[in-house]
Structure formats: C-alpha cells, structure tokens
C-alpha cells in the first residue's frame, strides 16, 4: 500500500469521525422534536431492547459459567476458591457485562438499525418523509438513538444478573463452593458505586450512545444501493467493536 493511499485512508477515517460528530449534534438538536414520537421510541425500544433479550441472556449465562469454571481451577491452586464469587461479580460488573453486552448489541441491534435506515433511504422512504414535511432525523433517527441509549443499561443489567447466576451455578451447584461464602464474599467486596454503577450505568450508557450513533449514521449516510447497505452494515459492526474496546480503555482509566 502506497504512502498516498495510507494518507487517504487516514483522511477518510478522520472525515467520517468528524461527520459522525456533526451528525450527533443534528440528532441532539432533533431530540426535543422527537418527543412527539414517543410511540416510535417505545416501538424501537421493544425492537432493539426486548428483542435482544434472548441473545443477551444466553450469552450472559454462558460467560458467567465459563468464568466460574476457569476461576475455580485457577483459584483452587492457591486454595482461594472462596473468592470466586467476588471475582466473578467484579469481572462481570466492571468489564465483561458492559463490553460483551455492547458487542452483542452492535451485532444484533446495531446492524438491524443500519440496514433498516439504509433500506428506507434506498427505497425513497426518507425522501418521502422529507416531502411530507416530516423531519426524518426526528422521526426515524432520534427514536432509534434514544432507544439504544435506554436499552443498553437495561440489557447490561440482565447480562450481569445472568452472568452471576451462571458463575453461581458452576461454582456452587456443580463444583461445591459454599453458597454462603460465595454470596457473602461477593457482597462484602463488590462496591455498588465503584463497580456496579460504573459498569452498568456509565460504561453501558456510553457504549449504547456510541453503538447507536454509529448504527444510525451508517444507515443514514449509506449509498442507496444494495451493496451500499451491505457495506454500511458491516462497517457498523467493525466500527462499533473498535469504538467499544477503545472507549472501554479510556473509561476504565478515568473510572478507576
């Protein structure tokens, strides 16, 4: 790859980030107008939130189970299996809950938002709204953005609950860790504000905003072709995944 091509790619990426930032301002400006469409926001909340529950619950359970299993074998080397409840909870609340939920959310809901808006553009539905004097940012984009913002912490809570249940299932029910020790160590060492709120509230809201923004931006700006929609959907997953992991590092550094 030539130096010129590399420079062009960097310039294009920076331009996309800039456009995405401007698009966020447009959405925020349209949010008050979108309160007229509360039903649409609730419909989207159902679509991106409730419809994502199955995958979130299933993955949360298995992540917790794997974590419980791995920790049992590592901690048993040092005779510290009693701490497995604490470690499972802290790992899930601080990192795995918000990050894995956001990655799943990008794959399940982000892609469908991008594809839906992209197809609406390709079939002139966005232009038809404009022609009917209905602001598509307020009617189509803002409700989906808000729904993502609201759904992410709720889904993250469910993921964390199922994750801890999975850890308990493997550690206590199957491998014989004492039930009282598991829960008492967890409640004694997990801080509500530092661990739970930082993960479920701050991180997941930030991830929800980023994933939703990328999804609606990619959908709204996609070329109105089938190839354009397919490419935009892929970009949503790739860009969201990178953004989630990068933002996770920044947030972790600030919230420590």
């Amino acid at each position: 790859m030539s130096a010129q091509t590399q420079r062009n790619m960097v310039t294009e990426a920076l331009a996309q980030i800039g456009q995405c930032g401007l698009f966020l301002l447009t959405i925020l400006k349209a949010v008050p107008g979108s309160f007229r469409y509360v039903r649409e926001t609730v419909r989207q909340l159902w679509f991106v939130g409730a419809m994502s529950l199955t995958i979130i619950m299933t993955c949360g359970l298995f992540v917790g189970m794997v974590l419980g299993l791995q920790l049992y074998y590592v901690l048993s080397i040092f005779g510290g299996t009693a701490a497995s409840g604490t470690v499972v909870a802290i790992a899930i609340y601080r990192e795995l809950g918000p990050v894995v939920t956001a990655l799943l959310f990008a794959g399940r809901a982000g892609t469908s938002i991008t594809a839906e808006i992209g197809l609406m553009r390709a079939t002139d539905q966005i232009a038809a709204m404009e022609m009917m004097a209905v602001d598509p940012i307020a009617y189509v984009v803002a409700p989906r953005f808000l729904a993502g913002l609201i759904a992410m912490p709720l889904l993250c809570s469910v993921f964390c609950a199922l994750g801890i249940f999975g850890g308990h299932l493997v550690g206590v029910t199957w491998l014989g860790i004492d039930n009282g020790t598991f829960w008492s160590n967890m409640t004694a060492n997990v801080d509500v504000w530092k661990d739970v709120v930082n993960g479920i509230v701050y991180k997941s809201v930030a991830f929800g905003a980023v994933v939703s923004l990328i999804a609606v931006f990619q959908g709204y700006t996609t070329p109105p072709t089938s190839e354009g929609v397919a490419y935009a959907t892929t970009r949503t997953v790739v860009a969201s995944s990178i953004a989630i992991l990068a933002l996770d590092f920044v947030l972790t550094a600030f919230l420590m």
Partner: protein, 297 residues
C-alpha cells in the same frame, strides 16, 4: 391560514354546497405558481440544465416530457427544494426555494403533494396508515375524520378495500395508486407527479387520469406531470414542455405539440433513433470495442 382553508377536503366533508373552485386559490394565469429562471445544474460534470426557464401556471395541469436522463425528476427535486441548483432561481408561490430555511421549506412542502417514481410507501405501515401519515403528522383531526378522509382518498383511487394490506402485498400499480392517495390527502396547492402512469392497467390509468383532472378542476390544484405517455398527456394536460439538452426545446398544447415540425418533437414523439437527441450514450468506436480492426467496420 385557517386550518379549514388549508385542507380542502374538509370542504368535501362539510354539509355546505361543494364549490367548483376554491375561492382561496387564484386560478387565473396572472402569476405562475412555479417559476424557474436561469436554472443551471451540473451533476458529475454533466450539464443537466443550462439556464433553464419555465413557468407553471396556477390551476393548470402542466406536463414535462423529455428523453430519459434529461433531468425531469431532477427538476421536480429543484422545485421541492430536495436539490439545489448551481445557478438560477426556482420560485414556488413567490418564494425562492433556494433561500428558504429548513423550517420554511417544510412549511412550503406541507402544501405540496409529491408522487414518487417508486411510490416510496412506508413499509412499516399498512395502506390506511400510509395515507393517514401526513394527516397524523400535521393535524390534530379526530380519528373519525382522519378515517373518513383516508377512505375517501382510497375510494378515489379504487383501493378502499385494500386499506388493511401492507405495502409488500401490493402490486406495483396498486402501490402507485396508494402513493397517489397519500399525495392528494391534503388537497395541496401543488401536486408533482413523477411518472404517475407507469404500471397502471388501462382501467386504473383512466381512473387516475380522471382523478387528476377532477382535482384540478374542482379544487384549483396546480399539477405538474412528468411522464412519457403522450396519449395520456393529451387527455389530461393543459400545457406541455419538452426538455432536452438542458433547455426547453418545445412547448405548447399537448394535442398539437407533436406536429410543430421541429426536429426535437419529430424525433421524440416519432420515436426516431436519429435526431438531435443521440440514442446511443457517448462511446468509443463500436468496431474497436468488438475487437475488429477499424478498417473492417
């Protein structure tokens, strides 16, 4: 403007005698509703309009015809402010569309109906909700009144019985008629029809022609039709513009325009490959493209 004045259909639903023309809308030739002055548009290096001038008179049905790719849909986009030109002016009801703010443009669009080439129905909604959509967004009419207006419009396009169908269950022609019902649901001052006759069977075509004429005659609505079907245009339009090469090359009565003797009208209405409008898109030497030496061509 009073809500009753804006929504002419309320007149239809009222118990008062139905007026043949809307007294609030001037239907004289005095001032055109749409004026295009010196419009120049260049897209991807190709000149679409070259200082185009055009007037759309109030209360009339004006047809815009021309070869494919000549910019007919683009012209509609300029009129509705979906696209800005590189130079010139588009005035709608005295307002320079290019100078309007977004909110002013939306106010103007509330008075414009637009029939898209591909119908552009909202796929999440059924036929009834598609037609009701503009009413729900811009009025606080009661559910009963919305229902009556929507059914009235659907009856007009022959699809009252399809009110509960989803857009995916409609044929292309039916979708077009639903889109037409949606475009006229406000009884706007200006309706722009982009290829309204495509996909219609002869029965539906005849009814749509009658509907366009009736709307125009009874409510004084100004209509702009972009179409290729000269026979249909002859039945419904009052005036026709033929645009090619970025300019108006002919205009006049649709019944006689084909006989005006100019090379443009002769080629276009005669369907001839040879003439001022090249049938072939600019390309290199044909024989060379096929791999033959130039001398064998």
């Amino acid at each position: 403007m009073a809500r009753e004045a804006r929504f002419g259909y309320l007149v239809l639903l009222s118990s008062r005698p139905f007026p043949m023309t809307d007294p609030l809308r001037p239907t004289t030739d005095a001032e055109p509703l749409v004026s295009v002055r010196g419009l120049t548009t260049v897209l991807s290096g190709k000149t679409i309009f070259d200082a185009l001038d055009m007037d759309i008179p109030r209360g009339r049905i004006t047809a815009i015809m021309g070869p494919s790719g000549t910019g007919k849909t683009t012209l509609l986009k300029h009129i509705t402010g979906q696209m800005a030109g590189d130079a010139g002016q588009v005035l709608v009801d005295g307002q320079d569309v290019g100078e309007l703010s977004r909110s002013q443009l939306f106010k103007l669009r509330e008075q414009i109906g637009y029939l898209f080439q591909n119908s552009a129905l909202l796929t999440d909604f059924d036929v009834f909700e598609n037609v009701a959509f503009p009413l729900r967004q811009h009025t606080d009419l009661s559910e009963e009144l919305i229902r009556n207006v929507v059914l009235l419009k659907l009856q007009a396009v022959g699809l009252r019985g399809a009110a509960a169908l989803m857009p995916s269950e409609l044929s292309g022609g039916m979708a077009r008629r639903v889109a037409l019902a949606r475009a006229i649901v406000f009884d706007p001052m200006l309706i722009l029809y982009d290829e309204p006759f495509v996909g219609l069977d002869p029965i539906a075509l005849n009814q749509v022609l009658k509907l366009i004429r009736t709307l125009n005659d009874t409510l004084g609505i100004t209509s702009v039709l972009v179409a290729h079907e000269l026979d249909a245009i002859k039945q419904v339009a009052d005036h026709v513009y033929l645009i090619a090469n970025g300019k108006v090359v002919a205009q006049g009565d649709p019944k006689t325009i084909a006989d005006d003797g100019s090379p443009w009208t002769r080629q276009f209405f005669g369907g001839e490959a040879d003439g001022p409008v090249p049938f072939q898109y600019p390309a290199g030497d044909y024989a060379q493209s096929l791999g033959f030496p130039r001398s064998q061509a």
